[in-house]
Amino acid sequence: MREILTVTNLVKRYGGKVALNGANCRFEQGKIYGLLGPNASGKTTFLKICAALIMIYQGQVLIDGVRPGLATKAKVAYLPDGDYFLDWMRVADTVNYFSDFFADFDRAKAEHLLLELELEKSSPVKSLSKGMKARLKLAVVLSRRARLFLLDEAFDGVDPVTREKIIDVMLNTFDQESTMILATHHIDYVEKLLDEVKLLRRGEVIREIAAEEIRQNSGQSIGEYYLEVFRHEKAT
Protein backbone atom coordinates (compact mmCIF):
# COMPACT_ATOMS: atom_id res chain seq x y z
CA MET A 1 0.00 0.00 0.00
CA ARG A 2 1.00 3.56 -0.62
CA GLU A 3 2.74 5.38 2.18
CA ILE A 4 1.26 8.77 2.97
CA LEU A 5 3.33 9.75 6.01
CA THR A 6 6.86 8.71 6.93
CA VAL A 7 8.51 9.83 10.15
CA THR A 8 12.18 9.13 10.74
CA ASN A 9 14.16 9.87 13.92
CA LEU A 10 11.91 12.75 14.84
CA VAL A 11 13.20 14.79 17.76
CA LYS A 12 11.63 17.89 19.28
CA ARG A 13 12.80 19.71 22.38
CA TYR A 14 11.12 22.60 24.14
CA GLY A 15 14.00 24.19 25.96
CA GLY A 16 15.46 21.37 28.03
CA LYS A 17 12.30 19.26 27.84
CA VAL A 18 12.16 16.47 25.27
CA ALA A 19 8.75 16.07 23.61
CA LEU A 20 9.80 13.70 20.84
CA ASN A 21 12.83 11.52 21.24
CA GLY A 22 13.62 9.83 17.95
CA ALA A 23 10.16 8.71 16.83
CA ASN A 24 9.96 6.39 13.82
CA CYS A 25 6.80 5.24 12.06
CA ARG A 26 4.97 4.96 8.78
CA PHE A 27 1.35 5.47 7.80
CA GLU A 28 -0.36 3.97 4.77
CA GLN A 29 -3.10 5.48 2.71
CA GLY A 30 -6.62 4.15 3.29
CA LYS A 31 -6.21 3.31 6.95
CA ILE A 32 -7.38 4.69 10.30
CA TYR A 33 -4.65 4.89 12.93
CA GLY A 34 -4.82 5.35 16.66
CA LEU A 35 -1.96 7.40 18.07
CA LEU A 36 -2.10 6.43 21.72
CA GLY A 37 -0.04 7.18 24.75
CA PRO A 38 -0.15 8.73 28.21
CA ASN A 39 -0.12 12.47 28.84
CA ALA A 40 3.13 14.09 27.73
CA SER A 41 4.07 11.17 25.49
CA GLY A 42 4.38 13.52 22.51
CA LYS A 43 1.12 12.96 20.62
CA THR A 44 0.18 16.60 20.16
CA THR A 45 3.71 17.66 19.21
CA PHE A 46 3.81 14.82 16.68
CA LEU A 47 0.56 15.95 15.07
CA LYS A 48 1.55 19.64 15.10
CA ILE A 49 4.76 18.86 13.25
CA CYS A 50 2.84 16.85 10.64
CA ALA A 51 0.37 19.74 10.35
CA ALA A 52 3.29 22.13 9.70
CA LEU A 53 2.48 24.16 12.80
CA ILE A 54 5.87 23.40 14.32
CA MET A 55 8.61 23.90 11.76
CA ILE A 56 11.71 23.51 13.88
CA TYR A 57 12.64 19.94 14.74
CA GLN A 58 15.28 17.31 14.03
CA GLY A 59 14.77 14.25 11.89
CA GLN A 60 12.62 13.80 8.83
CA VAL A 61 8.89 13.99 8.20
CA LEU A 62 7.55 13.32 4.71
CA ILE A 63 3.94 13.67 3.65
CA ASP A 64 3.53 12.03 0.29
CA GLY A 65 7.27 12.58 -0.12
CA VAL A 66 7.21 16.27 0.82
CA ARG A 67 8.28 18.00 4.04
CA PRO A 68 5.43 19.63 5.99
CA GLY A 69 4.94 23.21 4.82
CA LEU A 70 2.64 25.30 2.68
CA ALA A 71 2.31 22.58 0.04
CA THR A 72 1.29 19.89 2.50
CA LYS A 73 -1.09 22.16 4.41
CA ALA A 74 -3.31 22.04 1.34
CA LYS A 75 -3.87 18.32 1.80
CA VAL A 76 -3.59 17.87 5.54
CA ALA A 77 -6.59 18.66 7.73
CA TYR A 78 -5.76 19.17 11.39
CA LEU A 79 -8.17 19.22 14.29
CA PRO A 80 -6.40 20.75 17.29
CA ASP A 81 -7.03 19.88 20.89
CA GLY A 82 -8.87 22.63 22.77
CA ASP A 83 -10.52 25.82 21.63
CA TYR A 84 -9.58 27.50 18.40
CA PHE A 85 -12.60 29.36 17.15
CA LEU A 86 -13.05 33.08 17.13
CA ASP A 87 -15.71 33.78 19.72
CA TRP A 88 -17.30 36.74 17.98
CA MET A 89 -18.19 34.64 14.94
CA ARG A 90 -21.37 32.77 14.23
CA VAL A 91 -21.38 29.15 13.01
CA ALA A 92 -21.93 30.37 9.44
CA ASP A 93 -18.98 32.80 9.67
CA THR A 94 -16.75 30.02 10.90
CA VAL A 95 -17.66 27.88 7.91
CA ASN A 96 -17.00 30.80 5.55
CA TYR A 97 -13.69 31.47 7.22
CA PHE A 98 -12.52 27.89 6.65
CA SER A 99 -13.92 27.88 3.16
CA ASP A 100 -11.85 30.99 2.31
CA PHE A 101 -8.77 29.45 3.82
CA PHE A 102 -8.69 26.02 2.19
CA ALA A 103 -9.05 25.34 -1.51
CA ASP A 104 -10.24 21.79 -0.84
CA PHE A 105 -13.11 22.95 1.39
CA ASP A 106 -16.33 21.33 0.21
CA ARG A 107 -19.26 23.68 0.93
CA ALA A 108 -21.89 21.09 0.09
CA LYS A 109 -20.31 18.70 2.52
CA ALA A 110 -20.16 21.41 5.19
CA GLU A 111 -23.89 22.07 4.77
CA HIS A 112 -24.54 18.37 5.10
CA LEU A 113 -22.36 18.04 8.21
CA LEU A 114 -23.96 21.06 9.91
CA LEU A 115 -27.33 19.40 9.42
CA GLU A 116 -26.07 16.00 10.50
CA LEU A 117 -24.47 17.44 13.63
CA GLU A 118 -27.46 19.71 14.34
CA LEU A 119 -25.50 22.94 14.25
CA GLU A 120 -27.50 26.12 13.69
CA LYS A 121 -25.79 28.48 11.29
CA SER A 122 -27.03 31.53 13.15
CA SER A 123 -25.71 30.42 16.55
CA PRO A 124 -22.91 32.57 17.96
CA VAL A 125 -19.84 30.42 18.60
CA LYS A 126 -19.69 31.97 22.07
CA SER A 127 -23.04 30.39 22.97
CA LEU A 128 -22.09 26.83 22.01
CA SER A 129 -21.64 24.18 24.67
CA LYS A 130 -18.42 22.19 24.85
CA GLY A 131 -20.02 19.31 22.97
CA MET A 132 -21.40 21.58 20.24
CA LYS A 133 -17.99 23.25 19.84
CA ALA A 134 -16.47 19.80 19.39
CA ARG A 135 -19.07 19.13 16.70
CA LEU A 136 -18.33 22.40 14.91
CA LYS A 137 -14.60 21.74 15.00
CA LEU A 138 -15.13 18.37 13.42
CA ALA A 139 -17.58 19.72 10.84
CA VAL A 140 -15.14 22.29 9.45
CA VAL A 141 -12.19 19.90 9.48
CA LEU A 142 -14.03 17.01 7.85
CA SER A 143 -15.51 19.31 5.21
CA ARG A 144 -12.12 19.38 3.56
CA ARG A 145 -11.27 16.89 0.85
CA ALA A 146 -7.94 16.29 2.55
CA ARG A 147 -5.69 13.30 2.04
CA LEU A 148 -4.55 13.17 5.64
CA PHE A 149 -6.73 13.94 8.66
CA LEU A 150 -4.96 14.55 11.97
CA LEU A 151 -7.50 14.60 14.77
CA ASP A 152 -6.26 15.50 18.24
CA GLU A 153 -8.70 14.47 20.98
CA ALA A 154 -11.82 14.74 18.83
CA PHE A 155 -13.85 13.11 21.61
CA ASP A 156 -12.92 15.37 24.50
CA GLY A 157 -15.87 16.56 26.52
CA VAL A 158 -18.56 15.00 24.33
CA ASP A 159 -21.62 13.07 25.49
CA PRO A 160 -22.46 9.56 24.17
CA VAL A 161 -24.87 10.89 21.53
CA THR A 162 -22.29 13.33 20.19
CA ARG A 163 -19.70 10.56 20.22
CA GLU A 164 -21.87 8.40 17.97
CA LYS A 165 -22.51 11.30 15.65
CA ILE A 166 -18.80 12.08 15.45
CA ILE A 167 -18.01 8.45 14.62
CA ASP A 168 -20.72 8.47 11.95
CA VAL A 169 -19.35 11.54 10.20
CA MET A 170 -15.79 10.22 10.47
CA LEU A 171 -16.80 6.98 8.77
CA ASN A 172 -18.73 8.98 6.22
CA THR A 173 -15.63 11.02 5.36
CA PHE A 174 -13.04 8.26 5.39
CA ASP A 175 -12.31 6.46 2.12
CA GLN A 176 -9.51 4.57 0.39
CA GLU A 177 -7.90 7.82 -0.76
CA SER A 178 -7.64 9.26 2.73
CA THR A 179 -5.88 8.46 5.96
CA MET A 180 -6.92 9.32 9.50
CA ILE A 181 -4.75 9.58 12.57
CA LEU A 182 -6.71 9.80 15.81
CA ALA A 183 -4.86 10.83 18.93
CA THR A 184 -7.11 10.08 21.86
CA HIS A 185 -7.40 8.95 25.45
CA HIS A 186 -10.86 7.56 24.75
CA ILE A 187 -9.66 4.20 23.49
CA ASP A 188 -13.01 2.53 24.17
CA TYR A 189 -14.66 4.89 21.65
CA VAL A 190 -12.34 3.91 18.82
CA GLU A 191 -11.92 0.16 19.35
CA LYS A 192 -13.89 -0.68 16.21
CA LEU A 193 -12.56 2.17 14.10
CA LEU A 194 -8.84 1.55 14.10
CA ASP A 195 -6.83 -0.41 11.58
CA GLU A 196 -3.62 0.03 13.46
CA VAL A 197 -2.34 1.33 16.75
CA LYS A 198 0.86 3.28 17.38
CA LEU A 199 1.87 3.57 21.00
CA LEU A 200 3.94 6.57 22.01
CA ARG A 201 6.01 6.59 25.18
CA ARG A 202 8.15 9.55 26.16
CA GLY A 203 8.48 10.69 22.58
CA GLU A 204 9.19 7.32 21.04
CA VAL A 205 6.97 4.94 19.08
CA ILE A 206 7.25 1.75 21.11
CA ARG A 207 4.59 -0.42 19.44
CA GLU A 208 3.01 -0.57 16.00
CA ILE A 209 0.36 -3.26 15.75
CA ALA A 210 -2.86 -4.00 13.87
CA ALA A 211 -5.98 -3.74 16.03
CA GLU A 212 -7.29 -7.16 14.93
CA GLU A 213 -3.89 -8.67 15.69
CA ILE A 214 -4.14 -7.50 19.31
CA ARG A 215 -7.57 -9.14 19.65
CA GLN A 216 -6.55 -12.27 17.77
CA ASN A 217 -3.20 -12.87 19.47
CA SER A 218 -3.85 -11.91 23.04
CA GLY A 219 -7.65 -11.92 23.37
CA GLN A 220 -7.38 -8.37 24.66
CA SER A 221 -9.19 -5.23 23.69
CA ILE A 222 -7.01 -2.33 22.56
CA GLY A 223 -7.73 -0.65 25.90
CA GLU A 224 -6.52 -3.67 27.86
CA TYR A 225 -3.44 -3.98 25.70
CA TYR A 226 -2.70 -0.30 26.27
CA LEU A 227 -3.09 -0.70 30.03
CA GLU A 228 -0.77 -3.65 30.08
CA VAL A 229 1.92 -1.64 28.31
CA PHE A 230 1.53 1.56 30.30
CA ARG A 231 0.21 0.47 33.69
CA HIS A 232 3.56 0.83 35.39
CA GLU A 233 4.47 4.14 33.82
CA LYS A 234 5.14 6.95 36.21
CA ALA A 235 3.40 10.19 35.42
CA THR A 236 5.73 12.88 34.12
Binding site: G30, K31, I32, E164, I167, D168, L171, N172, F174, D175, D188, E191, K192, L193, L194, D195, A211, E212, R215, Q216, G219, Q220, S221, I222, G223, E224
Partner: protein, 126 residues
Protein backbone atom coordinates in the same frame (compact mmCIF):
# COMPACT_ATOMS: atom_id res chain seq x y z
CA UNK B 1 -24.95 -5.46 16.78
CA UNK B 2 -22.99 -5.65 20.01
CA UNK B 3 -19.34 -6.46 19.76
CA UNK B 4 -16.90 -8.07 22.08
CA UNK B 5 -13.78 -5.90 22.03
CA UNK B 6 -11.60 -8.88 22.87
CA UNK B 7 -12.33 -10.86 19.71
CA UNK B 8 -11.43 -9.92 16.16
CA UNK B 9 -14.23 -7.74 14.84
CA UNK B 10 -14.10 -9.34 11.38
CA UNK B 11 -14.83 -12.78 12.87
CA UNK B 12 -17.78 -11.42 14.82
CA UNK B 13 -19.27 -9.79 11.73
CA UNK B 14 -18.67 -12.93 9.65
CA UNK B 15 -20.49 -15.05 12.23
CA UNK B 16 -23.29 -12.52 12.35
CA UNK B 17 -23.81 -12.67 8.58
CA UNK B 18 -23.75 -16.46 8.67
CA UNK B 19 -26.25 -16.50 11.55
CA UNK B 20 -28.54 -14.14 9.66
CA UNK B 21 -28.52 -16.53 6.71
CA UNK B 22 -29.11 -19.55 8.97
CA UNK B 23 -32.03 -17.84 10.72
CA UNK B 24 -33.48 -16.74 7.40
CA UNK B 25 -33.05 -13.00 7.94
CA UNK B 26 -30.83 -12.94 4.87
CA UNK B 27 -32.16 -15.07 2.03
CA UNK B 28 -30.48 -16.45 -1.13
CA UNK B 29 -29.95 -13.78 -3.75
CA UNK B 30 -30.57 -10.88 -1.37
CA UNK B 31 -28.40 -7.82 -1.94
CA UNK B 32 -26.02 -6.74 0.80
CA UNK B 33 -25.17 -3.11 1.57
CA UNK B 34 -21.96 -1.75 0.03
CA UNK B 35 -18.83 -1.89 2.15
CA UNK B 36 -19.11 1.78 3.01
CA UNK B 37 -22.82 1.50 3.87
CA UNK B 38 -22.28 -1.61 5.95
CA UNK B 39 -19.42 0.05 7.85
CA UNK B 40 -21.65 3.04 8.61
CA UNK B 41 -24.52 0.80 9.75
CA UNK B 42 -22.26 -1.27 11.97
CA UNK B 43 -20.08 1.68 13.03
CA UNK B 44 -16.87 -0.18 12.24
CA UNK B 45 -13.84 0.44 10.07
CA UNK B 46 -14.68 -0.10 6.38
CA UNK B 47 -11.46 -2.11 5.92
CA UNK B 48 -12.87 -4.62 8.41
CA UNK B 49 -16.04 -4.96 6.34
CA UNK B 50 -13.95 -5.31 3.16
CA UNK B 51 -12.09 -8.17 4.81
CA UNK B 52 -15.35 -9.83 5.86
CA UNK B 53 -16.77 -9.57 2.34
CA UNK B 54 -13.58 -10.98 0.80
CA UNK B 55 -13.56 -13.95 3.17
CA UNK B 56 -17.28 -14.65 2.75
CA UNK B 57 -16.78 -14.55 -0.99
CA UNK B 58 -13.94 -17.07 -0.69
CA UNK B 59 -16.28 -19.33 1.26
CA UNK B 60 -18.89 -18.83 -1.51
CA UNK B 61 -21.37 -17.49 0.99
CA UNK B 62 -21.71 -14.23 -0.90
CA UNK B 63 -20.94 -13.31 -4.49
CA UNK B 64 -19.80 -10.05 -5.99
CA UNK B 65 -21.28 -9.05 -9.33
CA UNK B 66 -19.40 -6.38 -11.17
CA UNK B 67 -21.31 -3.14 -11.28
CA UNK B 68 -24.32 -4.64 -9.54
CA UNK B 69 -23.24 -5.22 -5.98
CA UNK B 70 -22.79 -8.00 -3.47
CA UNK B 71 -25.41 -10.70 -2.97
CA UNK B 72 -26.10 -13.62 -0.69
CA UNK B 73 -25.21 -16.75 -2.62
CA UNK B 74 -28.21 -18.28 -4.41
CA UNK B 75 -27.45 -21.80 -3.17
CA UNK B 76 -30.46 -23.52 -1.56
CA UNK B 77 -28.18 -25.61 0.58
CA UNK B 78 -26.39 -22.65 2.09
CA UNK B 79 -28.88 -21.88 4.87
CA UNK B 80 -29.19 -25.56 5.75
CA UNK B 81 -25.45 -25.97 5.83
CA UNK B 82 -24.98 -22.91 8.05
CA UNK B 83 -27.81 -24.03 10.31
CA UNK B 84 -26.10 -27.39 10.74
CA UNK B 85 -22.81 -25.72 11.54
CA UNK B 86 -24.37 -23.52 14.19
CA UNK B 87 -26.22 -26.53 15.66
CA UNK B 88 -22.95 -28.42 15.73
CA UNK B 89 -21.16 -25.70 17.68
CA UNK B 90 -24.06 -25.20 20.11
CA UNK B 91 -24.13 -28.96 20.76
CA UNK B 92 -20.40 -29.09 21.20
CA UNK B 93 -20.53 -26.33 23.82
CA UNK B 94 -23.43 -28.07 25.61
CA UNK B 95 -21.66 -31.42 25.67
CA UNK B 96 -18.30 -30.10 26.77
CA UNK B 97 -19.89 -28.17 29.65
CA UNK B 98 -21.58 -31.34 30.88
CA UNK B 99 -18.38 -33.31 30.41
CA UNK B 100 -16.63 -30.79 32.60
CA UNK B 101 -19.22 -31.61 35.26
CA UNK B 102 -18.24 -35.28 34.90
CA UNK B 103 -21.24 -36.45 32.85
CA UNK B 104 -20.79 -39.46 30.59
CA UNK B 105 -22.67 -40.01 27.29
CA UNK B 106 -25.60 -41.83 28.91
CA UNK B 107 -26.03 -39.12 31.53
CA UNK B 108 -25.83 -36.37 28.94
CA UNK B 109 -28.60 -38.02 26.93
CA UNK B 110 -30.67 -38.50 30.07
CA UNK B 111 -30.18 -34.86 31.02
CA UNK B 112 -31.35 -33.77 27.60
CA UNK B 113 -34.35 -36.12 27.62
CA UNK B 114 -35.44 -34.97 31.05
CA UNK B 115 -35.13 -31.35 30.02
CA UNK B 116 -37.19 -31.91 26.88
CA UNK B 117 -39.82 -33.80 28.83
CA UNK B 118 -40.12 -31.00 31.38
CA UNK B 119 -40.37 -28.24 28.81
CA UNK B 120 -42.59 -29.58 26.05
CA UNK B 121 -42.53 -27.24 23.09
CA UNK B 122 -41.02 -24.51 25.31
CA UNK B 123 -37.42 -23.53 24.78
CA UNK B 124 -36.95 -25.90 21.89
CA UNK B 125 -39.85 -25.41 19.53
CA UNK B 126 -38.62 -22.14 17.99
Amino acid sequence: MRYNDREPIYLQIMNEVKAQIAYGKLTPGMQLPTIKEQAAIMRVNPNTVARVYALLEQERIITKQKGLGTFVSASEYLARELREKIAESVTSRFVSELQRLGFGPAEILQQLQQFLARAPGGENSR
